[in-house]
Every structure is written in C-alpha cells, then in structure tokens.
C-alpha cells in the first residue's frame, strides 16, 4: 500500500517564505509534488517517523480479552507493539503434584478444572490414559456414550469460543446467542450427571451413571421450540430436539460473524502462523488445522482412541477453505476461527450417529474399576483431541495405587507459545484479535 506523505522540510520552507496558496495542489503542481515527496510502502512506518517514547504496558492479568488471567507484557511505540512477553502461572494450582498423591480416579475432579469449558473431554483423556496403562477394554455401550458426551461438550466449548471471540472484537450479540445454546447443553449434562461445569462424569471404566431415561425438557429448549415447559422427554430425544434446533442456527452465526465485513477486516490476513511454525511450536487442534496441517487425533491418534470413533463418519476441516473470503490467508485468525465453526457441524453429525447407535449398543455403561487399583510398573502417554487441541496425560506407575508421576500436557500451553512472534509489529488493538483466535483457557495452561 503506497501512501503519499508531506515532506515537512518543504512545508517549513514555504511557511518561512510566507507562501501559502489555498488551492495548492492545483495551482502549483510541481511544488506540490516536491512537498509530498516522501512515499512510504507501509503506513505503519509513520509511527517510526514520528518517534515516541517506548512504553511498557501490562495487558492483564485482569484484562477481559486475555480470557482469564494471562498477563501480556507489551513494549509499545505509540500504537505499535514491538515485543510481547506472556507471563503465566496466575492460576497454577499444582495439579500435577496433587495427582502424585491421589489415585487416578480421585484425580478426575482436578482434570475438570483444567479446561473448565470442556470438562468431559478432560475426563475422557485422563480415563483413557489410565485404561491404556492398566489395559482395560470397554464395552460398546460405554464407548458410544463417551463419543456422544465428548462431542456434545465440544459443541458447547466451541460455542463459547465463538461467542468470546466476537466479544474480543467488540460484538456482543453472538456471545448471547452462544450462551443461550450452551445453556441447553449444560441442562442436559446436569440431568445426566448432576453437574453443570465440573462433571467428573466420564471415569476410568466408562461413565459414573447411565444416561437418564426421562427428563423434564430443558427450559431453554422448551421456550425456543414453543413446547410446554412441563413436557417430559427421554434424554436422547432431548439431545435430538436440541440438535434439530441448533443446526439451522449455524448459518445465522456465519452471517452474524464469519461473513461479517467488519469481522473479516479484523481477522483475515492477521496473525499468520505458517505451517512450519505451527508444527515447530507444537500447536495442535484448530490452531494446527488452521495452518493447513491435516491432523486430527480422532482419526490419526493412538489406537485406543481412534478405536472409539470406528464406525463413525466425520470429516476433518482443514484450512485453506474454498469458501474463504478473498482477504483470508492460510494460518490467519479467520482460518482458525472457521475451523472451529466447521467442527461444530462435524460434532453435530457425530452426536447424531451416536444417538442412533446408543439404544442398540451392547454391554453396560461401565466396567467395574476399584479406586484403589494398583498401577503396573510401566508408564504411558496418551493424547486426545480436545476442543482446544491435543491434551496429553502421562502416567508413571510403580506398583502402587498412586502414580509416581502424573503429568498433564496442556494443548493451550503450546498454542499460546507462538503469541510473541504472532503479535509483534501489530497495532495494540489487534492483540486481542490474535490471542483470542488461539482460543486459550488459562485453567488448562496453568493447571
């Protein structure tokens, strides 16, 4: 982008000679050309031309757009950010140290509090890691139940991700719509396990309870679909009714946000993370797929995990997208956001298939597992595809009930690592757009 800028020396000369003409550019075109002789390619260079003092600004830990308690130390020159240093640890609760002093089943409630927007997925990842360590096989019914629950939680988590990202960019309504939808999922989860946020529902050996047979219809769903609030439905019917209502709404979110001109201007072509950098920084999940790496652990992961999704039909959305706006570049904010939106549609597909399979699935919803089961003298590491990326659990057993080491490798921790190179050189106002597109949850980063 070329921009003509005034050459202040020429103007100063004219001013001192008391020359000033109203219609300057037309009356004396040659002088005008001389006066506007400085040509710059990048408008941001103006900022360096008018040099201001560098300033250190703390963004966070209480800033709303840092999604929790992240502190970004910014070195700014006017509106330009020259250096970004993330400071973590404000939500560190020593989860790994606690895990060493508890049996794995007792540790499950602590995993809920890691990615608190996707508690079910955290429970699932941890349970699977323990099952891999002790070599446990699950009946079909428990597996289908897990897919159903985990994908439903993925929808809820991406809805918050979408709403909160809109909020970061200054639009409030998508957030309200997202929470209206999410509320119904939380009501359904509450009927299934009693909790709305920290579920501890999926556990070693399956799930703590079977799905309830009849439930009162979630109030939000009743009012949205104009049904009687006293209606009773089966849990699975409730989910189907909700999905039937949600699916046509996705188009509305795209109109409201994804295809919104202002939204595209704020996201497309900004915060570009190249494919190589995404791999080198260990990014996973939508951040990796937004940079064009076709990798989803539900399809490419550990056999114990991919086995769960056998017989399920789903696609893995990967950038670049054919229907992307012209301004979008591979690996930018818009691509990362769009991967999440496409994943919601895929999750709906998966939940629908699970609903169909569940009534005829064989076996029980859980295998008996004693809380005080001794872990073998071995170790295992397992990653699962959580909404925000690959969450890994690493257990070292030593013939005791408590593991010698319980490690939770956070996906957001790695996704946050490229913040500094992504944000450098951008305007201050674009920092929330870049950080928000990484969709971080501090509870998972700090553990």
């Amino acid at each position: 982008m070329l921009k003509k800028l005034p050459n202040f020396e020429v103007f100063e000369g004219l001013r001192q000679a008391n020359i000033w003409i109203d219609n300057f550019s037309q009356a004396q075109p040659e002088l005008w050309t001389a006066a506007m002789s400085v040509t710059l390619e990048d408008p941001r260079i103006v900022e360096f031309d008018v040099r201001t003092d560098e300033m250190l600004v703390n963004m966070g830990p209480q800033h709303p757009s840092t999604h929790g308690v992240l502190r970004l130390l910014l070195r700014t020159d006017g509106e330009i950010v020259n250096e970004v240093t993330p400071h973590l640890g404000y939500l560190h609760r020593s989860a790994e140290k606690i895990g060493e002093n508890l049996s794995p089943v007792q540790w499950i409630p602590y995993t809920d509090r890691m990615d608190y927007l996707a508690g079910m997925n955290m429970n699932l990842g941890m349970s699977l890691a323990v099952e891999k360590l002790i070599g446990m096989e699950l009946p079909e019914k428990a597996v289908v139940l897990r897919v159903l629950i985990a994908e439903l939680n993925r929808i809820a988590s991406h809805l918050v991700g979408m709403g909160a990202y809109g909020l970061d960019l200054g639009t409030f309504s998508p957030f309200l719509y997202a929470f209206r939808e999410r509320e119904i999922i939380l009501d359904l989860f509450e009927e299934a396990c009693g909790a709305r946020l920290t579920y501890s529902y999926l556990t070693v050996g399956g799930a703590t309870h079977d799905l309830p047979s009849t439930i009162p219809i979630p109030p939000g769903l009743a009012s949205l679909t104009h049904r009687s609030p006293n209606m009773k439905v089966s849990w699975l019917e409730g989910v189907s009714m909700f999905l039937d209502w949600l699916e046509p709404r996705i188009k509305e979110y795209h109109t409201l946000l994804t295809r919104n001109h202002i939204f595209i201007k704020r996201t497309a072509g900004l915060g570009i993370l190249s494919r190589e950098d995404a791999i080198d920084y260990g990014c996973t999940g939508p951040v990796l797929r937004g940079s064009g790496v076709d990798w989803d652990l539900r399809r490419d992961g550990d056999p114990i995990y991919t086995k769960m999704y056998e017989g399920f039909d789903f696609d893995v959305p990967v950038a670049p997208f054919k229907d992307a706006p012209r301004e979008a570049v591979l690996g930018d904010n818009w691509c990362r956001f769009y991967v999440r939106m496409m994943e919601v549609a895929q999750a709906i597909r998966l939940v629908r298939q699970a609903i169909e399979k569940y009534p005829t699935a064989e076996g029980a919803h859980r295998v008996a597992h004693k809380m005080a089961t001794k872990l073998p003298k071995d170790e295992c590491y397992l990653e699962t595809e959580c909404p925000r990326g690959a969450m890994g659990f690493y257990f070292v057993g030593n013939g005791e009930v408590n593991p010698l080491r319980a490690r939770a490798k956070s996906s957001c921790f790695c996704n946050l690592a490229p913040t500094a190179p992504l944000c450098e050189g951008f305007l201050l106002a674009d920092i929330p757009a870049v950080v928000g597109s990484l969709d971080i949850v501090m509870g998972e980063i700090d553990r």
Binding site: G89, E383, Y394, V396, G399, K409, A417
Partner: protein, 177 residues
C-alpha cells in the same frame, strides 16, 4: 518405522556410548540417550529423512525417589531424575519416547541442579516445556535462552515436583498452616 527399527537406526548412527538403553516391551517403547549428547540426537531425530520427528508432543521431568526410608526397598529404582521427550512425526506417522537420566543433584551437592543440554534450538516449543521442567522438577537446561520460572512465582524457593520438596509454611506473609 516401529520402535525397534528406530532404535537400531539410532545405535547405528551414534553407537552404544550415546544410546545407553531401551525398553521395547513398555506400553510406549522408549530409548535412553546419554545426557550430554541429547542435542545432537534430537537434531538427528528431527532432520533425518527416515525419522522426521517434527513434533515434540511432550517434554517433562520425573523424579525417581522415595523419601520414606521404610518404603525405599520396595521402591525398586535407583534415585535419579529423568527427562522424557515424547516425539511423533506428522509426515511419517510414527512415534517414540526418548529419555535422559541424570543424577538427582549435580555432584551429589544437594541444591545443585542436574544439567541437561537444551533442545530448544531443535523444537521451538521445547523452550517453554523446559522452563516448566526447570520450574517444577528442577533441571538445569544448559544453553537455554531464558531459563526462568514459568508457572511458579519468580521468587519461589524449591522445585515442587521433587519428591523431597518441603512445602513452604509462609509466603510473603501468607501462612500455609
């Protein structure tokens, strides 16, 4: 490539001086590498065309130690600290676990952190993972560009994931008990 082929390739390239052990029977097969040569082995693992381990899934430290004397006989491990690297490859689709074993304290001087060369020059994400391992387990990654605490406060004393870590009774006037 399966774990056995990867092990053979590493032994062929570096010899048994640098590849000091392995366990192919484990759930996740692992290869043990001598501490001082981890950086060149890591570089080889990433750049070799047959291996192409471009993704560092996880890096963490493990403290093998039983502080209770009565339980030490049953514990079954010599006291040491391990750094565990979980690697996988997007292009070749295989994975391996690499381990480095170091003594719990450098030169048996309690408080002197054991040293392991950094791999942050090989995988960029290792930078943060190593900072975390330094912070929580207490391993000095030699050559790391910015080895500071990442999760605990800057003035925190001790490394919490050490088995003989003593919980502080007081921090800036906040009493723990």
């Amino acid at each position: 490539m399966n774990a056995e082929e990867i092990l053979n390739l590493l032994v062929e390239e570096f010899g048994s001086d640098k590849i000091t052990g392995s366990n192919l029977e484990a759930i996740d097969p692992w290869v043990e590498v001598a501490g001082e040569s981890i950086e060149e082995v890591a570089h080889f693992l990433k750049t070799d065309e047959r291996l192409q381990f471009d993704h560092l899934n996880n890096l963490c430290g493990v403290d093998y130690f039983e502080p209770d004397e009565k339980k030490q006989a049953k514990f079954g491990h010599e006291p040491h600290v391990e750094v565990v690297y979980h690697l996988s490859s997007y292009s070749v689709r295989h994975k391996i676990t690499i381990k480095v074993c170091v003594p719990r304290w450098k030169d048996d001087q309690k408080g002197e952190l054991p040293e392991v060369p950094t791999v942050s020059g090989v995988w960029k994400i290792a930078d943060w993972h190593e900072r975390e391992a330094f912070d929580l387990v207490g391993i000095n990654f030699v050559g790391h560009p910015n080895l500071n605490r990442i999760l605990c406060a800057e003035d925190w004393v001790g490394h919490p994931l050490r088995k003989d870590y003593e919980f502080p009774l007081e921090y800036h006037g906040i009493r723990a008990k």
